[in-house]
Symmetry: C2
Subunit: 328 residues, 2 copies
Amino acid sequence: MKVRELGEFGLIEHLSEIVRGASGGDLVLGIGDDAAAWRTDGAIEVGTTDVLIEDVHFSLSNAAWRDLGWKALAINISDIAAMGGSPGYALVSLALPPETEVDDVTELYRGLAEVAVEFGVHVAGGNISTAPIVIISVSLIGKATDALLTRSAALPGDLIAVTGCLGQSAAGLRMLSSELEVDPETFAFLRKAHLRPYPRVAEGQELARHGVKAAIDISDGLISDLAHIGKASRAAAKVWLDRLPIHPVVQASFGEESRRLALSGGEDYELLFTARREAIDEVCQVMSTPVTVIGEMVEGDPGRVTVLDEQGREVEYEAWGWEHFKSL
Amino acid sequence: MKVRELGEFGLIEHLSEIVRGASGGDLVLGIGDDAAAWRTDGAIEVGTTDVLIEDVHFSLSNAAWRDLGWKALAINISDIAAMGGSPGYALVSLALPPETEVDDVTELYRGLAEVAVEFGVHVAGGNISTAPIVIISVSLIGKATDALLTRSAALPGDLIAVTGCLGQSAAGLRMLSSELEVDPETFAFLRKAHLRPYPRVAEGQELARHGVKAAIDISDGLISDLAHIGKASRAAAKVWLDRLPIHPVVQASFGEESRRLALSGGEDYELLFTARREAIDEVCQVMSTPVTVIGEMVEGDPGRVTVLDEQGREVEYEAWGWEHFKSL
């Protein structure tokens, strides 16, 4: 069997079985959440790792090196945000073709340093090697600030909510990879949405502080990431299509298509979370970032996500979202 | 300027300047040692990251998947060993071509799990993605058990010593990549030396406990790694060629060539350290692993390494060792 037949998530499940014997210790949370967590002398630490690979995760034809640096670290910070944690120390593993311009790598590191300073992350170390393509692998260690937000804590009856808007990163990618004609402000907005995600660190900590227990960051896409929560929590989910927070700029440029971008586009790095109505009301009051209730967790097939239209009718959607090895 | 012109070490120096502003906090040791170190509530933590890239660091034509799993984690454990630390939690970032066999990835993870169990490491998490080549990136977090061993603590007058033997990993690589005819025991010994390095964790902790302050693990090669110590410590080094601990098997198969393998071969993952004679005598008494004194630190050009023969005459050697981007 090939890994493309098993798919990314099947492979993760399979491999996590193999290292189960090697994942005890003071491990609080192992493979299968946004970040791992373990107990240290004085606190609970969280750790995550993510990689950007040329022509898989980005193309040098439409991404500036500085943006790549930002994004490579930002997506890791987002994983820590999804745990309600505080990011601390980053290790950067960089692989480059020998013909790469030093100026480009300088820009990459400037982008890394920018997001590091913005979120109080310290770039502690790393390594550099040769490769036929550009590979930026970042690991990030942080701390839990309160109870951890996990994928497995959603309960039937919980409302489902998201921070910010959905679909703008996928819209940006669509724009950058095609010849879509847009005005300069729209171009700048969508480009930034795709290449400069701004992790919801303060928001994740607020969620944890106000009793929210279940969260994930939207990297694969709303439906896919909601399915991750559903699967881990042994529950199903309903999403109300007309409640999706879609930015007017995306709506204006993509029309009907924008709902699909919001449902499945991914890489918005907003927080998707579930909680009782009271906790969500409380969160909405204290947080300046907009929060939108978009559905509810229900009893049902673990991980099943149903999308309903204005009349409560089930909407057919292609069951996709980003999964490595699966051809989309 | 291209990165191949600046070279790996020049690039590291250049990039560490850029993130200097983003490397404060409770950082004890940043870019430029075997691992980074930072202060937490109760202890000093150490963190390192290393990557294996297909056809750069290994070839699937001569490395078994299980060995790759072992090596990918072992080389990180070795970095923690070189700090005198205790390894704790690993994050694994795996990138694979979609056509990779699941059985092969299973083997890779079995190798990872083997070395993890052997050294009490917990595989806490990671991620998986598509790539045109196999990339295994591992980050490892551990704890200092005593004072940290650093590259910058060597002093003129210190003796230079190594654990175990030198050159057998490079001999193994030479054997695996050529058609060198050897007997089965030699084959097994050299193959294991190259593909299954056994990190010197207990030894690193013993060194720290007995007052040794300066160490590095031999990954790039003796001369190159000794130059790293010299540069960081602002001192020069003398190596006595006839004292190099070369395993009889390497001596028998490679003759005169074995000295070159010992000086520059790399990937032995033995510990190279410097200390006053008294500390080294103490270490030799308590440690069951053989320790060999091979030279001394002296005043002189920082990082300069001089190799002397039996008569004390300077030996010409090619100034090499593994450095990414430099053609060797």
